[in-house]
Symmetry: C2
Subunit: 368 residues, 2 copies
């Protein structure tokens, strides 16, 4: 994109009814508008536009349906008590999107422009941001390959789309410990695969393990695909263990997703002088710590659920209870601090928050 | 599906122009009609119909765009010199589709009904089957998850679609040896993953290796994701090596696709009393055989290319020339026999061929 791109605005005349804050499900309701942008090899990314939320028209032979060339991101817009709209480290999402793009052979997007597009769309849909505690506007940017061609090769046409969904808390019960199962049969991905990328295939691969898991299992804990010993991550969260006063999380090894929440947790722990190690951690180490009584806490960290304490870890009919099934102090402090910063309730010493200005219906210029 | 399902026919009045036989690309042109069928948790698979080929209308939040829950198949319809239309072992494709469905948590289809749907659609589009040597009508059945929901869980809505594309030979040069690169960095999948299933994510994961491969590389040869030593398969083909008079192919280990062509090759070789082994085979064994002069042939086998002799194998700047870069006798015999059976030129001792009756515009009944 060499010229300045202007986002064309094609707004709908009347909006849909908004759901009640206490009736929000996750990812089921979408706002009145969406952002779209097209890519062709000849024109690059072009024709950015905000249009009414409506079905896409996609050829049955579009490559995304057959060869899964797609990436996505997930972030949230938060409403503060003062009525301001805030994003949390959105730059990292678009950086990660480009990282995913690279792995999936999708042409890179202009990260700064994508952020402006999000801001413009969120500003337009401000009235859709729910107000109740723990609720937010979930933002889903994604790219799909749309060339009508049945051949295994990178597509020459793509669409970059952003949709918005007002969401309640991810786990209806709030910050309550969940039950996680260690997955011993299925593998999500392996080094050299697509685990570091946020692409559909990783999630498609994960469904079966969840289906096979016993009742009451919130998500599964993935082990590495090679030795089936080392902990990778949970369904849609990175994972942390507090053992003997130290927090440990699996190092970025090429097969786990680098979570924005993970990075924020690590920074907060360092800021608080809580020892934090990024390294390989095996299930054996966790079992051993549990046996010795040094497994103090376990929790997942991700945008959707923020911090999710793990109260019970199930593996091969063994049930490990962690911290008597209660939320630990570290998980609680992280949850309160992260949500505090996100909702503008506490100070943001890290400059993580990005304000969305009230520019309703204005147009946006960005150099591409 | 408890009742008999009738395929509703909604035909277009005038057809598109058909491409010249000598100008056929692979997977770029589609016929006038397609088959569709819907699934909901309440109704099961329902409303089978043949409609004009046209874009699908899909919600931007449809799960297939985000979480990659999709499967597909690939088979061909062949026109014989007598004007008959033949399919090659299509039952295996729908059986494999259900195997893929199971791995991807997609509800199973009625295999017999799907085959009838293919036959009805192909019969209707008979005029689209090209006549020239090596050409055929490529059949692409696929299932996509269409529930509008941003959550990692199996979809509750799906569409099963069949589209048809008249195709020329997969490799324009015909049965000419290709150059294959051994992939040492990227991994397609691993045991416990989705390698046995025909699902988009496997192909999305494969694009990068192809992009990184040097000029002139037709496809890459995947090694196992654990030890990175054992041969798995080629991009869209299973692979065979003839070493010292014996043919060897990697055993089905849970991470490679069970090809219909692979199975047919094995049966043919047994029928001919050519020794054939399905077992682990390492790249070291292939290098060693090459060094000792016992690596007689290598070839890929798949629906699109039928048999593709491998004339050169590239790895870490080593170039192995196989059979002086010529098509070997075994590859040639397999190619001639398989295409001979498919095009009705030679006898079919295995009952592999399935005729498509000329039932244009008739309706079809099947119990679901
Ligand atoms: C597989 C996986 N791991 C980890 C995460 C957490 O990442 P983030 O904190 O950026 O939401 C997510 C969710 O985005 C995920 O899908
Ligand atoms: C990964 C992969 N392996 C092998 C094959 C060969 O299978 P078949 O002979 O059924 O076409 C294909 C093509 O379908 C494939 O995509």
């Amino acid at each position: 994109m060499e010229e300045e791109q202007v986002i064309r605005m094609d707004l709908c005349s009347s909006g849909k009814e908004k759901p009640q804050s206490d009736q929000l499900a996750f990812g089921r309701t979408f706002t009145d508008h969406m952002f779209l942008m097209d890519y062709t090899d000849e024109k690059g990314w072009h024709d950015p536009r905000v249009v009414p939320y409506e079905p896409l028209t996609v050829d049955p032979s579009a490559m995304v349906f057959h060869y899964g060339q797609s990436v996505f991101e997930g972030m949230k817009a938060y409403l503060t008590a003062e009525g301001d709209v805030q994003l949390f480290r959105p730059q990292r999402n678009f950086k990660r999107m480009n990282h995913s793009n690279d792995r999936l052979c999708i042409p890179p997007i202009d990260e700064a422009f994508a952020l402006k597009a999000v801001k413009q769309l969120v500003a337009l849909e401000k009235d859709w941001i729910p107000e109740a505690e723990g609720t937010s506007l979930y933002i889903r940017p994604f790219i799909i390959s749309t060339e009508p061609f049945l051949g295994v090769a990178p597509s020459s046409h793509y669409q970059f789309i952003i949709i918005l969904s007002p969401v309640g808390a991810y786990y209806k019960e709030g910050i309550n410990p969940i039950k996680i199962a260690v997955e011993n049969d299925y593998v999500r991905t392996v080094a050299g695969g697509t685990g570091e990328a946020k692409t559909g295939g990783n999630y498609a691969a994960s469904l079966k393990a969840q289906e096979m898991a016993e009742e009451g299992i919130a998500q599964v804990l993935w082990l590495d695909g090679v030795e089936r010993k080392y902990i990778e991550e949970v369904g849609s969260m990175n994972v942390f263990f507090k053992i003997n006063g130290k927090v440990v999380t699996p190092a970025l090894n090429g097969s786990i997703l680098e979570g924005v929440t993970r990075n924020s947790v690590i920074q907060l722990l360092k800021h608080w002088n809580v020892p934090i190690e990024e390294r390989k951690i095996s299930m054996d180490e966790v079992y051993q710590a549990h046996k010795e009584g040094t497994l103090e806490e376990a929790f997942g960290a991700g945008t959707a659920a923020v911090i999710s304490p793990i109260g019970e870890l199930v593996s091969h009919h063994e049930h490990l209870e962690i911290n008597s099934g209660q939320t630990g102090a570290t998980a609680k402090r992280l949850y309160d601090t992260l949500t505090g910063i996100q909702y503008g309730k506490i100070q943001d010493p890290f400059d993580w928050v990005e304000k969305v200005e009230d520019i309703r219906q204005g147009t946006l210029r960005a150099s591409g």
